[in-house]
């Protein structure tokens, strides 16, 4: 029976090839857009995680702070429990480092009367304190300690990125919901149009003794196949776009730790499976409405 239903489904697809193609392409487009957002989240999450691992807070000390004051500040920072490591960088070391970094143009610094850089403490954070809110709270706390002139961390950048990330997250969820409903309606309508265009045929089939399963099974197979093909094509199109685009994106400097990756296979399979399930649900509602005696 199921083989026969599959054969009849394929025969039906052939005789409604245009309608089925439009349906599959629309599903593919929906899957492409939703998956593109998923791709962004996966990489944005990777990026944030990677960046957080390297995050540091730099504490600039007031000019002329004594050794005892430095030790006392270091102790106060360690007491917060957030610091994994606190390294003192003297103003001379910092100046040398700066000279090294600017390389050929270090002669520009020769004209300075005195070293303008302050003594500083570089704090590496424990894993659990690497969230944007934790860093911000810790920085504010440290800024209130004596002998602290300024606290620096990638505050604005972090806030901006977190903002964009959250915005995309909400947009992605909204779009995913819209496309979920759209895909459902597309499949439901395709099946409904197919059934409507074949209402006489269905009526004849019924008169000669077909039960509802005989009518339903090929349509279910058709809808699930549409979902599968649409999902598969959407993922393949996104993969091609990814392969063609990513080598042209150069990620250098501070972000060189980050390497973009495609949606993992298991997620890709889940998307296709989801698309097939949507096909099934869409078909179920259409049929339920249509096949009332």
């Amino acid at each position: 029976m199921s083989m026969l239903a599959a054969k009849r489904a394929l025969r039906d697809i052939r005789s409604n090839i245009f309608l089925n193609m439009v349906s599959v392409l629309t599903i593919a487009l929906s899957v492409f857009i939703v998956s593109a957002f998923m791709l962004f989240f996966i990489n944005a999450t990777d990026f944030l995680d990677g960046w957080r691992k390297g995050v540091r807070i730099i504490v600039y000390m007031t000019d002329g702070a004594s050794e005892a004051e430095r030790l006392s500040l270091t102790e106060a920072i360690q007491k917060t429990g957030a610091a994994q490591e606190v390294v003192f960088i003297s103003r001379d070391e910092a100046f040398k480092d700066l000279k090294k970094k600017i390389g050929d143009q270090s002669s520009l610094l020769d004209g300075l009367d005195k070293n303008p850089l302050p003594d500083s403490l570089e704090i590496t954070l424990k894993d659990v304190y690497r969230g944007p809110e934790d860093i911000e709270a810790l920085a504010a706390r440290i800024a209130g300690l004596p002998q602290v002139d300024d606290v620096e961390y990638a505050q604005k950048w972090l806030q901006r990125f977190a903002g964009v990330y959250n915005l995309f997250k909400i947009t992605g969820l909204v779009l995913a919901s819209i496309f979920f409903i759209a895909t459902l309606l597309i499949i439901a309508n395709t099946i409904r149009i197919i059934m409507f265009s074949r209402r006489e045929e269905i009526e004849i089939i019924r008169i000669v003794g077909a039960d509802e399963n005989f009518i339903r099974y090929p349509l279910f197979i058709e809808a699930i196949l549409q979902g599968f093909l649409g999902g598969f094509l959407g993922i393949v199109a996104l993969f091609l776009a990814f392969v063609l685009t990513v080598p042209n994106l150069s990620i250098e400097g501070a972000f060189s730790f980050f390497e973009m990756r495609f949606i993992p296979v298991k997620f890709s399979l889940a998307i296709v499976l989801c698309s097939m399930t949507i096909g099934w649900i869409g078909c179920y509602f259409s049929i339920r409405k249509f096949l009332k005696l």
């Binding site: 005789s15 006489e200 045929e201 004849i204 003794g209 077909a210 509802e212 005696l293």
Partner: protein
């Protein structure tokens, strides 16, 4: 009307117990059947027995209720009142899911053929066997056999819209007989055919009858009726015509 409503009404008439009796050779029994469409009564208080292996013409002018009667028999419509028993199955007790099973016992022929235009002659006929899950080889053999019987096997691969009216009706007859049903219902089978084709179709119906099928033909084709081949049941305005004695004949089938 609901099953319960139908039963109560029969009880009111004091006749519900009559259905317990089953005359062995009665394959179709209609008892006090009425069918209303709004205020219009298409069939009114129709009581009729058809015996197993009988050939019956149901005739009458347009609007007499012939097609309605055929529709009630294959459950294309549900009776507003009364009871219908087909091959031991009480139609008012049948569930929606059981309707296909009942229809598989029937071969149905329509005036407008009701063939699927996107399918070939072969596929149209084979469909009946596909539905009941016959194996492909068997489908091939039996379908070709049915097409040969109606003399259209040479056009098995063609789509039905290219056929003439007579040929289409032969395909419809092949579809009606391929499942070897016990009952064949034909609603104006020759209504849109020329005399030659009509005669051919009538012959095919007689052949099916000769093979043992009970045949009920709703028609106003006098030529066919006048052959005297089968019993004639006359309807007028939804009622059995009492003037020609058919009521009495039909009544004889009931164990009242």
């Amino acid at each position: 009307m609901s099953k319960l409503g139908s039963k109560l009404r029969l009880k009111d008439k004091g006749l519900s117990d009559m259905f317990v009796m089953h005359k062995e050779n009665t394959i179709i029994r209609m008892f006090r059947v009425s069918k209303r469409y709004g205020k219009m009564e298409a069939l009114s208080d129709l009581t009729l027995d058809i015996k197993d292996g009988e050939f019956v013409f149901v005739t009458g002018p347009s609007g007499a209720g012939k097609s309605t009667m055929i529709k009630l028999l294959y459950m294309g419509e549900i009776a507003s009142e009364g009871a219908i028993i087909i091959d031991g199955v009480y139609m008012d007790r049948i569930t929606r899911k059981q309707i296909p099973r009942l229809r598989r016992k029937l071969g149905i022929i329509f005036q407008d053929f009701k063939l699927i235009p996107t399918k070939t002659v072969f596929q149209n006929v084979a469909l009946v066997l596909e539905i009941v899950g016959v194996k492909p080889k068997e489908i091939q053999r039996r379908t070709m056999e049915a097409l040969e019987r109606v003399g259209i096997d040479d056009r098995a691969g063609e789509l039905t819209p290219v056929l003439s009216g007579g040929e289409k009706q032969r395909v419809a007859v092949a579809r009606a007989i391929v499942g070897e049903p016990r009952i064949i219902l034909a609603d104006e089978p020759t209504g849109s055919l020329d005399a030659d084709s009509a005669s051919h179709i009538f012959q095919l119906l007689q052949d099916a009858h000769a093979d043992g099928a009970t045949v009920v033909v709703a028609t106003h084709d006098q030529q066919m009726i006048n052959t005297g081949y089968g019993r004639v049941v006359r309807l007028a305005k939804g009622r059995l015509n009492s003037e020609d004695g058919e009521m009495q004949y039909a009544g004889q089938g009931m164990d009242v």
